[in-house]
Amino acid sequence: MTTELGNDLAALARDVRASTVAVHDTRGRGSGSGVIWDARGIIITNAHVVRGREAAVELADGRRFRAALVGRDENMDLAALRTEGVGDALPAADVRDSASLAPGEFVVAVGNPHGVPGAVASGLVHRCNARWVISDVRLAPGNSGGPLVDASGRIVGINSMIARGLALSVPSDAVVAFLRALRTGSRAA
């Protein structure tokens, strides 16, 4: 059973890493993580990770792309980037409706804490509401903007901050709403 669990966890980590990117702010020294949200190159990260109008994005396989800021919402701590010249073949993440999350579900965070690429931390959903998915995953700086996924590897949140030892992630439903608002032009940066 524990061997199976270990294998499943390793497989999950491998798949989630493929759609997790490192985001380097081209203006300052800031860097964090991001998620390949769709195959055409939309990257979701935290607003606090990208300060300028563009950023450099590095995939797990080492490929690097320039990405332009599409929109930002400081309140929700979300930013959307569009990678340039990648066609439509990026390994996008599978997304789950965060409203269906229950306390006690197993979740995994992937990111680049302390510059370590693809580092994985796990924990349980503490509770969730429209604003945050709160879990006991041990995040570190650099996890910001990276994915929080469920036991099937589906994205349920974007890791944002640590408060009183708990991980706060922006729910996937809020990311969907953010992107919808961008498309309709109501909140373009």
């Binding site: 669990l5 599978d94 229950a102 197993f106 349980l124 036991a151 590897g153």
Partner: protein
């Protein structure tokens, strides 16, 4: 959005996640939010149909305690008993509650998966998980309470989880989490100790009577020559530093400077030994007190008193 190549069919990890969420759902109906203190939020466990156990350190108001039940409904509770030595408080509720299922500790061991569950002031269930990192024998709290197992999980336990349950992977209570038994880390009061203390509180009208002698004391090493001359096996005893007025010790004729060697049938080598005997000697019982005075052995009978309420 496409699937990232992940096998979507249920695997061991998905099964584990579902099991954990199910365990939380199982216990959640019996986890309450407790509001009795202006600054300390706590959780509580529904112990039986009309009682909730929680942490003593989060109880300030004794009559007007507000609860938020698992179904989101508020309820009023009154204090039915408290024992600061084990940081346990027993609350009474008029309405009928859903008691938490309890685990059998005989099957628990280091490495088992456990969940800490709490309820916050908005009524939301919160959970974290980890493994049993220590599961040892009996120990005594810094307030002199006897706990039958040293149980420590490695879960993240928020302060508001104090009073909430630690449950096994099936959602059965193995103990109550508290930040009140150690200044450095949260510990878990095992379910067997809760059962014993609750029974004592219910039998004792809401408090646990503790034996009292009325002496201050300190351990002393017995000189080798004295031990040989008197045929004493033990290497130390406790010397009486002070005797309280009108106390059981004064009535029995105990004086400052007496070196206590035995109380009842128990050898006394330090003051902890005295506390241990008193913990299991109800007030009113008689015990033999053996001591040295001026190098010669004496023995008196002492009637165990009851510690004043202020000392609790």
């Amino acid at each position: 959005m496409h699937t990232s190549g992940m096998n979507a069919s249920p695997n061991a990890l998905v099964a584990l996640s579902s099991e954990l969420a199910r365990a939380v759902a199982t216990i959640a109906t019996s986890v309450v939010y407790v509001d009795s203190h202006p600054r300390r939020d706590a959780s509580g466990i529904v112990w039986d149909e009309h009682h909730v156990v929680t942490v003593d350190h989060a109880i300030e108001r004794e009559d007007d305690i507000e609860l938020l039940l698992g179904n989101g409904v508020g309820a009023r509770a009154t204090l039915a008993g408290r024992d600061s030595s084990t940081d346990l408080a027993l609350l009474h509720v008029d309405s009928t509650l859903q008691p938490a299922p309890r685990a059998d500790l005989a099957t628990l061991g280091v490495g088992h998966l456990v969940l800490a569950v709490g309820r916050d002031e908005d009524g939301a269930t919160a959970a974290s998980f980890g493994i049993v990192s220590s599961f040892d024998g009996p120990w005594r709290t810094w307030r002199g309470g006897d706990v039958d197992r040293f149980l420590r999980p490695d879960c993240t336990i928020a302060a508001s989880f104090s009073g909430g349950p630690l449950v096994d992977a099936t959602g059965r209570v193995v103990g109550m989490n508290t930040w009140g038994l150690s200044r450095r880390m949260p510990l878990t009061l095992p379910v067997s100790t809760i059962e014993r203390v609750v029974a004592q509180l219910q039998a004792g009208g809401g408090r646990i009577p503790r034996g009292y002698l009325g002496i201050a004391m300190q351990a002393v090493v017995l000189p080798e020559r004295l031990r040989e001359a008197r045929g004493i096996e033990q290497r130390s005893g406790t010397i009486v530093l002070d005797v309280a007025q009108r106390s059981p010790a004064e009535r029995a004729g105990v004086e400052i400077g007496d070196v206590i060697l035995a109380l009842g049938t128990h050898r006394i080598e330090d003051s902890e030994d005295v506390q241990r005997v008193l913990g299991s000697s109800p007030p009113g019982t008689k015990q033999r007190l053996a001591f040295l005075r001026g190098g010669t052995a004496h023995e008196v009978e002492i009637v165990i008193g009851e510690r004043a309420r202020d000392d609790d």
